[in-house]
Symmetry: C3
């Protein structure tokens, strides 16, 4: 990492410096871990108390933050979290140089078309009819199936599988072990057991999509499983056959979406959500972690629980559940009163 003074750093990120700007900064770290030549940041108020003890040279903070310490330089910025991203970028190591061309250990079938500006690392396989767009990077150990297509500027990390016929747009990032185009899970019950339903469709991934490590996107039974423009999918997510994910949606780790379900635009599914098949989720719906979506959801609202319902309802139900013991007590009390009353009446 390179060296800067706090003043230079403040200037680079458009922050107002409050303190000694001459101190040198070699790196960056969280408040608890920072040393005297590190810069740090405070964006989440839960880490506020760490300001008292941090050894950082300077800290990115909100414009109006006040602290008791006078020895700590503050870099005041409107959005410390966003400014921190700038700091990270400044100190990030230069990416490894990747030259165009095909590593000699990779295997190409006749009829694969690779843009001369693409960089194909070691141990890849590119099958017949596949098309690799301009400036694509296949880091290595990547599998590209027959007639698969990558748009320009894609970045495929080691061990990605893009199976036969899958079409990927521009600027997509596929993380290690992601599988695009595995067969959908379709079987017909017969007297002789499950019989495979052929999965003859494909997967279409639009531009600017990112797909996490070891995530799996199944090919369609027919037509296409479709991942819309700008969708971000986290690690270990499962997307079944014929699912459609609308543009700009975000699907967080270990979520699973069953077959033929359609997500609108800008839907957010938090981690470990499960969605049934043939369900429609409206634009901008947000589903809390571990929820189970069993029926259509209107757009623009927050949902939680299994079955998923509006989040306020779920919170109310959970609160009632917590009050359950007290309710039982109150009923017992009423029963005692009712019993006493009955006895009194009997006595009368």
């Amino acid at each position: 990492m390179s060296t800067r003074t706090l003043s230079e750093l403040a200037q680079s990120i458009g922050a107002v410096l409050d303190g000694d700007g001459s101190r040198p900064v070699h790196g960056l770290a969280g408040l608890a871990d920072a040393g005297p030549t590190d810069v740090s940041f405070l964006a989440n108020p839960r880490y506020r108390a760490q300001l008292d003890a941090t050894r950082a040279a300077g800290v990115l903070v909100a414009p109006d933050l006040r602290i008791a310490r006078t020895d700590l330089a503050l870099l005041r910025c409107k959005d410390p979290n966003r400014a921190w991203t700038e700091v990270i970028r400044l100190f990030a190591p230069a990416p490894a140089p990747l030259s165009p061309g095909v590593h000699p250990s990779s295997t190409l079938e006749a009829g694969a078309v690779i843009d001369p500006s693409a960089s194909i690392g070691p141990g890849c396989h590119i099958a017949a009819g596949a098309v690799i767009g301009a400036r694509c990077v296949l880091r290595g150990h990547v599998w590209i199936g027959r007639d698969a297509r990558l748009g320009p500027d894609c970045d495929l990390h080691p061990r990605v599988v893009v199976h036969d016929g899958v079409a990927i747009g521009a600027r997509c990032v596929l993380h290690p072990g992601a599988v695009l185009g595995s067969d959908g899970f379709g079987f017909e019950p017969t007297a002789k057991g499950w019989v495979k339903i052929p999965q003859c469709g494909t997967v279409v991934v639009e531009d600017d999509v990112e797909i996490g490590a070891n995530a799996c996107i199944d090919r369609a039974r027919f037509g296409a499983t479709r991942i819309g423009r700008g969708v971000k999918i986290d690690n270990l997510v499962h997307v079944a056959h014929n699912v459609v994910v609308g543009a700009g949606s975000m699907i967080i780790a270990q979520t699973g979406i069953a077959g033929s379900t359609r997500l609108g635009r800008g839907v957010i599914l938090a981690g470990q959500v499960g969605v049934n098949g043939h369900v429609e989720i409206g634009d901008g719906a947000r589903v809390a972690g571990q929820s189970g979506v069993t029926a259509d959801l209107d757009g623009g609202r927050d949902y939680q629980g299994n079955p998923a319902r509006p989040r306020v309802e779920w919170l109310r139900m959970m609160a009632q559940l917590s009050r359950g013991a007290r309710l039982e007590e109150r009923v017992k009390e009423l029963e005692r009163g009712a019993g006493a009353g009955a006895k009194d009446e009997g006595d009368a």
Copy 2:
């Protein structure tokens, strides 16, 4: 895709044509996506309304379906879903030709036995003592460990790992990234921390099994983790050491089964189910998505919830939970009455 008329298509799939049979069909699509030279289908009543607007040339429907439109040809068939599978098969592209033999980029250890009719794609490794059956296809980048065995007609997709000693039956399909024979997760707590319990068993997969992308089947601590004949396992499923899955069971995506649990025949675990270790699930039990199985379950019934209980009980509990607010209101009302009554009595 090839071209047919609607009449020819109806004849091929045994449907009764109702409409203009001379229209040419080039492809197939869902009702909403179909164009004027596509055939489509209606099997799930939730898509009924799409019949009014579809641009399809013809639609597979149930024998008794009535519609207002007269411009839409109907192909009436007893089971439109099953007939649709036939249509998919008719239009499916021919599979890529795979010739027998070993791709020169693959590495074979001395003592590996490969049937001459098998097709070993690029970048595979087959270790000493391994046996690859007749007509097996290893698409490429597949790892076959020492003494592992594949029965005839298996289809291994890219990047599958069949670890040392694992035995696989006939006609099995293993999807990309599936791992068979990783170590079971067994550690003994000691004063010095967790000490690994050796995992010396194996995995046995019987005939006609299909295992999904990036699914993991651990080897047994001793003996074998066993996947019964005709079992279908979806993506990202976890099966721990010494589990036994009975014939014809179906395990849907992201389900996890802990060690030494035994599933009977024809058990269905829906997505994201978790099953504790040392549990027995009876033949034909069906467990709903996201349920947590913590104790033995009798066969032939539906279960849901965590802990999983008969589904009717779970539904009743959920309904009560929804009525919780109302119950609180009723108790409050009774308390008011009781208070009023007490006052009256005091007055008397």
Copy 3:
């Protein structure tokens, strides 16, 4: 497997033999599966009834176990489960011999440093600046990124990815398909959609860590995602950017931990647990399967549910939920009484 008599076996594991010690033992199996030349064991009381029918030559049991059968030899030992591990070790096949050196099919970039005692199997890639410690074993098809480091005696199974810059300690075991150092999942919402937040940190794995098949550990946004000494991570686990897992913790299959969360020492997360971001879990906390941790948890206690709460509270809530129908009945009864009372009063 080799042959021993029951007497020899009892002596090897320090058991007291009760029965015919001259019987030969060729192998080992569970009680239900054992044949007449197998030894077996009883550690979990749920399998007690299988003692009556087992065909095993002898069975490891607790010191004080009594049975009716007289034809079954018993090997009495203080801890039958631990003794069984010794038996497994005795009968385990010798591990395949792996000689030091680099398989000719592997690709090394200039500047990779590989200890001459390490064994690099087929189809690996080791990038520039990477360091492979003494006696490391890379089984094959392993990817080691730029400047990544492995301490001595690591065992990397097929298809592991250790991405650029990731640092791994001594004696770590990484199972097939595990990914260390994939990008964290960080995106900023903007008018143009999600914009990627650069993930410039790394992953640090301390000594004696084991990571399961297809598990994913993301690199930090800055600094390091840190897996402490002796941590054991099961299959398909997701650990997000900047998470810190304390020494000796155990994370069971399919659990997911969101960004910047910190686990103390000796924490146990059972299967399919989800943990929110920016949460702290205290030393020795134990969280039951499928729980959702949404807030800080004190150490040393058991938790369950979503939101996770002390397990006793959760059990109480579940019991109340089960009693819900009965509570409704009791309220109805009270309402009838109150109505009757009101009527009586009106009559008076």
